[in-house]
Symmetry: C2
Subunit: 740 residues, 2 copies
């Protein structure tokens, strides 16, 4: 079993039989449980915090306030604007104010009620438009101009001239609602300090290395005294890729009390921790020449960021940079504002930054093509950017299986026979997309490898791979087993993966931007190849025997390292190609929907999804990623939305009120793997975990158009929205018929 095999996930049995250890499974004698007091106001000054009542409450061992953790942090070094606990300003309903550690969770919870906070309630801004319009209401002091987290304005070619010259133009406003990740496992962190003043933090994070760095900065404790361990993770999807208040609070409380401390967020708190999909208001123009070729794209986006920056700087870039494939753009202009608002901070959710503009673009492309009478698949094929080519904004595409993806979904869906011919209330829609396999730049500037792997061979034939990479369900630990087995010629069942423990494993930057399998995979291949050469030279009739001979030859244990460092791909951190990746994945979906034109109630009947992942290192895992992505995209199209009241209070932060599709709401899926053998990826592999999400939403929107002739431009596609558009269309038709 090795590369290309359907090797079962290595963490599957432990997750299935309950023996797997998640952060909340970790406990120690004398452990304390802590709870965080949160702001009831969307924007307020704190005049005073009095924790004395709480600290006297029986069972309370320690309290913590922001002045004990004053250093600001944040996942992007240039936008560190968060504080574990507020000192003078709370910025959203749910913002962290104070913390209590007690003998048990309930006591800590009860003691929170005894903390007295004197707030001066301030007016709040709850939309990016308001945030722009009211610079006098300051959401976050980091913003130099108004409430702008980041403004990106880039232009490639003379867009206005091309638009003026174009034959068919689709220019509309789109609105993409905010949604959140909803991992099964809430955030949880446990900290323990030892007698030497060394601190260990177990956290449900997807960025253990970055948490390591930030704990060091915020606590003022050398990183060499801190160990961060990521246990099994119960889902993340980008929602655990920031440092969070709970990590600093447990760490500080453990140092303060000398006792282990745990914080487990409630489901409600997970909604405040958020970092989910940014709501975006998009103003998009796609201009085609008479042959249906893309002459110009003009992309203006106002991004609703919430109260802190999180990955927002990157979001502001990704929203523009990642749109420039799989189609060739003649010219391109991109202007985005990522705004601070008094709501829980948005961040990276699967398909970070590019899911929203992709929706707008793929709908606009259909609309413009329709004006020229070109079939939606044909217009995509005609604009195919090709392989070994550079995008208008300088991104270097290597392999590209997009045409094959299109062809597969075209055939599987019976597109030619069925598109536009399914009669009223049923339709097919297509969409394509491109995504990255990691980016050229580490999350903080340095020349060290982005991924490191250390492999050790035992004379028994056991292989141990030390990997800093975070398995967040994408299966990187399984793939590392397969890579070791492939290179070394051993049984993948006899490979131990030691993962995501800053003491034991080399550094990997974290699970974001679909970088993990690509980068850790290349590092692992390098390490294993070094060892394979030694085993080959040593000979031996079994794997264990070869290990023994090589160890005798070496006179030392058999171990080797591998590292992955992206070649600089032009541009700089703040420059034009901040999304530049060593390899791009491509996806095409066809969605089939049925729409009840009386009620607006609609349903995705089926989605055919073809994804170019380069080489499928493990087809089962790739299919899992495609299916999970399509599910999540369809979910956003159907029902997911973070909704706030006029005071910034999130409606129903629970799984009763925030609706996600159950199995009966989930469309029939057919996934297709397209292999394109990328020259940069490990064994030709590219990303598979985020790209396949993108086309689901526009393919559904385009299918709704095919079914009933409406263009829906706002998510979610609630039945009442569909119904309103149907009524608008009907009244337009009536007006037309009546000649008004």
């Amino acid at each position: 079993m090795s590369i290309g095999d359907r090797f079962p996930k290595v963490d599957g049995p432990a997750k299935a039989d309950g023996s797997g250890v998640y952060a909340d499974d970790i406990s120690f004698p004398r452990i304390l449980h802590a709870k965080i007091l949160r702001s009831p106001h969307a924007n307020a000054r704190i005049r005073k915090i009095d924790v004395s009542g709480a600290s006297r409450y029986p069972g309370v061992v320690a309290t913590l306030t922001g002045d004990e953790l004053p250093v600001k942090y944040g996942v992007i070094p240039w936008t560190q604007d968060e504080q574990a606990l507020a000192t003078d300003h709370v910025r959203f309903v749910g913002d962290e104010v104070a913390c209590v550690a007690a003998l048990d969770e309930r006591t800590a919870e009860e003691a929170l009620a005894l903390i007295e906070v004197d707030y001066e309630v301030l007016p709040a801004v709850l939309t990016p438009e308001d945030a722009l319009a009211h610079p006098e209401i300051k959401v976050n002091e980091r913003a130099k101009v108004g409430n702008i987290t980041k403004h990106v304005n880039l232009q490639f070619g003379d867009v206005d001239a091309e638009v003026a010259r174009a034959t068919a133009i689709a220019s509309q406003k789109y609105r993409y609602a905010g949604s959140t990740h909803v991992p099964i496992e809430p955030h949880c962190a446990v900290a323990r300090a030892d007698a030497d003043g060394n601190l260990t933090v177990w956290s449900s994070t997807q960025i253990p290395h970055y948490v390591h760095r930030e704990l060091s900065r915020v606590l003022g404790l050398s990183a060499s005294k801190i160990r961060v361990i990521q246990p099994l993770l119960g889902g993340a999807f980008g929602g655990k890729s920031d440092p969070f208040a709970l990590e600093f609070c447990v760490a500080k409380l453990a140092l303060k009390t000398g006792r282990p401390v745990k914080i487990l967020y409630t489901r409600e708190e997970v909604f405040y921790a958020h970092r989910g999909r940014h709501p975006m208001n998009m103003d998009l123009t796609v201009a085609l020449d008479r042959d249906g070729r893309i002459a110009a794209v003009d992309n203006k986006i106002l991004i609703d960021g919430g109260a802190y920056a999180s990955f927002g700087l990157v979001t502001a870039y990704y929203a523009g940079q990642l749109l420039t494939g799989p189609y060739r753009f003649g010219t391109y202009r991109f202007d985005s504002y990522r705004m601070y608002t008094n709501k829980p901070p948005c961040g990276p959710k699967r398909g970070h930054g590019s899911v929203q503009p992709r929706f707008a673009f793929e709908v606009a492309l259909d609309e413009a093509a329709e004006k020229l009478g070109i079939d939606p698949i044909e217009v995509r094929r005609r604009n195919f950017i090709g392989e070994q080519v550079e995008t208008v904004n300088g991104q270097k595409i290597t392999s590209n299986g997009f045409l094959k993806c299109l062809e597969l979904v075209e055939q599987a869906s019976g597109w030619k026979e069925r598109h536009g011919k399914l009669g009223p209330g049923r339709g097919l829609g297509v969409a394509g997309s491109m995504y990255i396999s990691g980016t050229a730049y580490p999350v903080y500037p340095n020349e060290m490898p982005q991924s490191g792997i250390l492999v050790k061979l035992d004379r028994s034939g056991r292989v141990t791979v030390f990997s800093g990479a975070s398995d967040i369900g994408q299966g990187v630990n399984t793939l590392l087993c397969q890579i070791a087995a492939e290179e070394l010629g051993c049984d993948p069942h006899e490979v131990t993966i030691v993962a995501a423990d800053t003491d034991l494993t080399p550094v990997d930057l974290g699970a974001y931007s679909s970088r993990v399998t690509f980068m850790a995979g290349l590092a692992a291949r390098e390490a294993c190849q070094k060892l394979a050469a030694k085993l080959h030279a040593a000979g031996g009739s079994t794997f264990a025997e070869a290990c023994q001979r090589a160890e005798a030859e070496e006179g030392a244990p058999l171990a080797a390292v591998g590292g992955y460092r992206t070649q600089k791909l032009g541009g700089d951190y703040r420059g034009g190609t901040i999304g530049a990746s060593p390899a791009y994945s491509f996806t095409a979906h066809v969605a089939e929907v049925s729409v009840d034109e009386e009620t607006g109630i609609w349903k995705v009947e089926k989605i055919w999804a073809a994804h170019d992942c380069g080489k499928a290192l493990n087809p089962s895992l790739v299919e899992g990623q495609i299916e999970g992505s399509v599910y999540m995209g369809a979910a956003e199209a159907q029902m997911e939305e973070m909704v706030y009241d006029a005071k910034g209070l999130l409606f129903g932060p629970s799984l009763l009120d925030y609706r996600i599709p159950t199995s009966v709401d989930t469309p029939d899926l057919e996934s297709y793997i397209v292999e394109s053998a990328d020259p940069n990826g490990p064994y030709g592999a590219k990303e598979a975990g985020e790209g396949p999400l993108h086309p689901a939403i526009p393919a559904i929107a385009n299918a709704i158009h095919d079914a009933c002739g409406i263009r829906i431009r706002e998510l979610p596609f609630y039945p009442q929205r569909v119904l309103a558009l149907l009524r608008e269309k009907a009244s337009g038709l009536r007006r037309q018929a009546s000649g008004i």
Copy 2:
């Protein structure tokens, strides 16, 4: 803090505050507890074992009998004569017969009573003399001739001719009683099998690598599917350096039931597990020439081995081989029989094999010197073998600080002024000894390193040392921290030691023969020096910065390996120098005793112990080892003895009945470190953990002689024995006075 510093033990705080994890602290959901049924007979055939009653007992999950674990094992590959559970023959009272796993320990214990075993009781041999005399009573089928485990007969030069020519001869019989280790922590093992059929065994062992190998052989499961982890150990002293029945039982039961299984021996069972000091009957002749030089030593030993071989093959060699320093022997003959007897098997206890003949030899040397009127210290000084010299049996001594040791204890004790002059009932005695720092031969023949170390540097400046070596309290993990700090220039508090886990750490053969610090230390130094060269080349103003620069330079994680492989030192596995070591330690003690001549009650007033450990890598640890050794030696001299009744039943296998000295029984100790900078050892270091035990016993015996003129030749030196000798001396004096 680094080499030579008094760095506190790294595992100290966790052991002191209770957070340390010993084997019995390990538990898992659904764990089963197992108990072992033991033989009530010293020698019996098993006609039938019926476990059906036990298996039906409520709460019992599984039973296990010997036919399920039929493969024989043992720590020495040539003498594998043990079976986890007996199938047809039990060989001592306490031998393992069957095992029951239940929901809790009490249920398992209760179910043992329901196992029906049909025994045919056989006559037993309980002394080595009986074992020799009755070859028709077969203790262990492995013995080819009679009940002999191993017979060693070696002669260097013409001993008989030199004895005939000698001026002063001391030729007497000595008896050294058996004693046991009494670690605070009883043996404990936990096993867990995962869904892939991989097995993890946590065991309170000092030989995880060897347990790994033997589990593989006995279970018929590839070693690559087995992981052995040694948790914190609560004492071992050689008593945990065999594979034990409990390890095989928990492993088999975990595989059989699919549930985790634990066995924790009771204190009584620890006495049956034993492997303690071999009782030896010694017939020793020391012949001096007229100048007091050792002309010949004739050493005949009958060793009482118990029912299995354990390390007995090695014991039979060590009893002779390790006597040939620190004095030069003119000629030497050595003849030893290690016998099987129907008692718990003896094995390696601190100072393995050589403590007993050392006692006899140092007493005999005093006696012979007395005949020549030579002072006991002077005779030792005169016979000093020197440095860079070969012993009569071919062992190569490198550094040798024995004269300095002698001088220190001579001065400290006021020997010159006080020896022979303290008046009746008080006296001083001296003794010397030599011990090994590991041996040239691995416990099983192979060309691989005996110790391997893997070191990884994190960009935070954290250093992680992966070491297979067993820290059994001797402090090797602390020393590895210091070596890393010394070579790398980092803070030893920022070094993580990952130890004794066959998946995570390189192989080290185990904690025996005082090999660990010497061999793992050399391997660690090698690995760290490789990394230090990279850090040096990279530069940087802090340690962390140097790590970062070097990692950037390397483009991969920073890691390096080191290995230690003894040079072959002549001879072969079964040959004349089986004890040959890369370096020898030397010790001298002076003991002061007081004896109440009315009652025979005596007391060690003080022991001055000087030990040549080469270089004291950590003086506090060396002093701890000296003090612990002296305590243990004095304990054997005072009171420790394994006593059996006529049917082979151990008297009082409990800490109420088996007496070890408490703090009030412990003599005043003064320890002196002598440094001799050994060319082979790490930083010049040699062993410190076993050598300092040896002279305690003969120094006490010689001091008793100085106090009251008796030569005590049998351990322990019970007051009634002392009294009997005093009465014998008195009656001799009376006879002399009356001219009879």
